[in-house]
Amino acid sequence: MAPLPDWTAAAPAILLGLTAIALLIIDSISPRSKNRNLLAGTTLVGTLAALAAAVGLLVTGTGTNGGVAIYGGQIVVDGMSLFFTIIFTSVAALVTLASYDYLAGENEQAEYYALVMLATTGMAMMASAGSLALVFVSFELLSLPSYALVAFLKDNRGSVEASLKYLLVGALSSAILLYGISLVYGVTGGLSFETIAANIQNSGLTGMLGIGVLMVLGGFAFKTASVPFHFWAPEAYEGAPGPISAFLSSASKAAGFVVAFRVFTVAFGLDIVSSVDWVLAFQVLAIVTMTLGNFAAATQDNVKRMLAYSSVGQAGYVLIGLAALGGGQDALVLGMSMTHLLVYGFMNTGAFLFIALAEHWDIGRTFADYNGLGSQAPIACAAMSVFMLSLAGIPLGGGFLSKYFLFGAAVGAGFWWLAAIAIVNSVLSLYYYLRVVRAMWFEESNGDRTIEGYPLGLYTAVIAAAVVTVLLIPAFNFVADPAVDAAAALF
């Protein structure tokens, strides 16, 4: 068999894009269709096809040997891009399943799914971006649908307000990112990562480069909802429809991280840029993000808002992947960060989808509203307990393993103080994660709440996420190994 042409390496992104187009065609043939079987089905098939393509490419070794560079190096498909595409498509599949019930009766379903697919395409392209130009374009391809999706519940003031805040902060950070890119271009005379890496040493303009790097970093801090660009996150996650909160807090965050990982290892690699100490910046970011996220989460009364802040805190842990570089265990540290993002992709998505389920049942948003839910919906609540405990780092799910090895790798790299702060944060986080568990199981339900029906799609999504979260314990090596390999290929 002749080897496949190079462009097939971009199959996951192509499939996602085609699905989006297919959805738009369906919408133009029968506008305002409420045929959710067709719409959600098309989306799910497209997403799973992209997922299968990404897994297939990764397993068959496309990512090895430096990856495949196509379109003049604009797109690079390697282990890391495939690994992250797997995260994006898995989350998108879960979100699609959940949306099947969540959107029942809504008018603009085709648009919704098309926007989700376009955003996922943007993520997949971000993961494979080989130049800052493509980074920016795919960044916007992800951002613009996201703004619209947050505002999807047009009659809901919270939803619209959240979208507006998201849009304003997003526009500002896009501008910052773009300005940073232009500064870097000015210093290095190129946009592709390789050109930047090649020219960066010869440049004497250290000050300008430093400002450029910091501004690029700011752009990523926005997407990953890291301090100080995290303000939009609690608002947007709280106001958005439940499945979209899951999508943004898991997949979109991971997309921000994949670009940060690639830019800061390939373009501004530590061995290349000695003049700008960006590791220090990431250390500060990591500590501030995890601490602030945790303390803010602990003070919330609204479960969705608590989860929003908790996802800020989790971003702080992932930042260790960049903050603990240069200690001789770069591949392991970065690989564990990637693994944590994958595990997080399932447990955090699951948690937000459980919130979506609660929204579907109309049972309110505070901890008190969840009182006694465990006796009414034991299976969903058991799944939610798995997510909460796994996020907190209790070994009922893969979160314990990824945290353990992430912190362990940081200690091994000599950043024991970073790991110590992370461990303290992780122990403290148990407090607010357990509040959910306590409310669901320990408290008596107040008032007569009735739960109508057990929506199939939402349940399937929540349980699938829980099963994967648990199975990631025995199967940890299957995801951690490719992650470390992919990370190693970058250095």
Partner: protein, 507 residues
């Protein structure tokens, strides 16, 4: 493979029972618990191990060793197996789970499938702790145990259940963190000489003196710090006075079956870990600290017994007496003689059965009287003769009546600790023996007031005979206590075979 099967039965059982309709859950859970029970007996019959699992020359039974995670410099294996110390504890855990599920039939009347599912999950965690030989897997199971117990207390407990559940979780989780830091100091101190977290390999390397200095700290200091950290961490679980305060709260609020599991099996995790970590890995430090640890043990024995003496709540009496009994286990461990270590392990079994028996009896009494206060009732013997008989048998077992398991355990411990060669061992032993007198005091007093004399009950319930399924677990436990008391060798041979190699070096 059989150990994986054992764990799989528990986990699959937990999931199946969790989704069963409530009315089928009790029978379903009992059936599900029979699979691990039978499997553990098959393991016992096929037991072909010899020596200590952690030490050189130890032959493990039913061992599995496959690579689980391999990342950069870290390798983690799925390494499980049993030796003469863990095998009896595995059997204890499966027996107690089945019986505890039976004791739940009467009192647990809401959200049953969830209750029984958690019981089976708890069993899986417990068994995992006893069979895991790789630190990482062991830690996973150690933490997994917390979750179902936290839920069992918090959902089905008494009036102050939420407070008790959180206190239990926070205490034991913080203790785990302290213990973890201590153990990691050893791992980092060993540096390149051990590349895995395999506990036998680590133990042997430490005993061979391969511990290097870490960040300028001498190996001796690392060992001392690690010993103290691990001791504190495990002492909370045992519990040893003064870190015992979570136990009475947890016990009093916990539903009967959870109390049976907590006292019968969960506390053994603490002493088992002390035996495996502190006393097998760092025997020289243990010897240095021996008088101090013995003092803690004796204080636990006497103070726990005194506290029990002061209680009016039957369940609190049994709870505090557990602290006292676990003090004997610590005394046996610190003695570091064949009888001391063997007796400590044997006492874990006998206390597991006896405290299970007493908690279950108190549970049966409470089910009919709806009070546990000693002052609220008397003369129950006429109305519930069988339960009374079982309770009396359990109490006498606790007091150390010959031909019952408690007598053998305590006898071995005293024989061992009397001959121990740390300073003041005889004095400590003599004082600890006095604890038995106090035990006899409070049990006789409690029995006399509640079971005998004129019939009187302060609550609005009529006392009748307990159901058969309430009596069965009591009867089985009484039989097992007597079997273990008359023929201790069914386990004691195995145990001494496993503790023997520990005495080779160190002390």
């Amino acid at each position: 493979m059989i150990i994986e099967l054992l764990l799989a039965f528990c986990l699959i059982g937990a999931v199946v029972v969790f989704v069963l309709p409530d009315e089928y859950a009790p029978v379903g859970a009992l059936t599900a618990s029979l699979f691990p029970l039978v499997t553990s007996f098959v393991m016992w019959l096929g037991f072909d191990g010899s020596g200590n699992a952690f030490l050189e020359g130890g032959q493990l039974a039913h061992e599995t060793m496959v690579q689980w995670i391999s990342l950069g410099p870290y390798t983690i294996n799925w390494h499980v197996g049993v030796d003469g110390i863990s095998m009896p504890l595995v059997v204890l855990a499966t027996v107690l789970t089945t019986l505890a599920i039976l004791t739940a039939w009467t009192p647990i009347d809401e959200r049953r499938s969830q209750f029984y599912g958690l019981m089976l999950l708890l069993e899986a965690g417990l068994l995992g702790v006893f069979v895991a030989l790789d630190f990482f897997a062991w830690l996973v199971f150690w933490e997994v145990v917390l979750v179902p117990m936290y839920m069992l207390i918090g959902v089905w407990g008494g009036p102050r259940r939420k407070y008790a559940a959180v206190k239990f979780f926070v205490y034991t989780n913080l203790a785990t963190l302290v213990m973890f830091l201590g153990f990691m100091a050893l791992v980092f101190g060993l540096g390149d000489s051990v590349s895995t977290l395999d506990m036998p390999a680590i133990t042997q390397a430490i005993r061979a003196g391969e511990l290097g200095s870490l960040a300028g700290i001498a190996p001796g200091t690392i060992k001392t710090v690690a010993f103290v950290a691990m001791f504190v961490g495990f002492a909370v679980k045992v519990p040893v006075v003064p870190v015992h305060t979570w136990l009475p709260d947890a016990h009093v609020e916990a539903p009967t079956p959870a109390s049976v599991m907590l006292a019968g099996a969960l506390l053994k995790m603490g002493t088992y870990a002390l035996l495996r970590f502190n006393f097998t890995m760092l025997p020289d430090i243990a010897a240095d600290f021996a008088p101090f640890i013995a003092l803690l043990a004796v204080v636990s024995v006497i103070y726990g017994a005194m506290l029990a003496l002061a209680q009016q709540d039957l369940k609190r009496i049994v709870a505090y007496s557990s602290i006292s009994s676990m003090g004997f286990v610590i005394l046996g461990l610190v003695a570091y003689t064949e009888y001391g270590l063997g007796g400590a392990t044997f006492q874990m079994l006998s206390h597991g059965l006896l405290s299970g028996l007493l908690f279950a009896s108190v549970g049966v009494i409470y089910n009919t009287t709806h009070t546990r206060m000693v002052g609220d009732m008397s003369g129950l013997a006429d109305r519930m003769p069988v339960t009374t008989g079982m309770f009396v048998a359990g109490s006498f077992g606790y007091m150390g009546l010959p031909f019952m398991a408690g007598f053998m355990g305590e006898y071995f411990i005293f024989q061992g600790s009397f001959a121990a060669d740390f300073a003041g061992s005889m004095v400590f032993t003599a004082v600890a023996m006095f604890g038995i007198v106090i035990v006899a005091g409070y049990f006789l007093y409690a029995m006399q007031r509640t079971l005998f004399g004129e019939y009187r009950l302060e609550t609005d319930y009529t006392v009748g005979r307990a159901a058969v399924h309430d009596i069965v677990p009591l009867a089985v436990l009484v039989v097992l206590v007597i079997v273990l008391g008359t023929a201790p060798n069914i386990f004691f041979d195995m145990i001494t075979d496993a503790v023997g190699p520990m005495l080779g070096g160190g002390l």
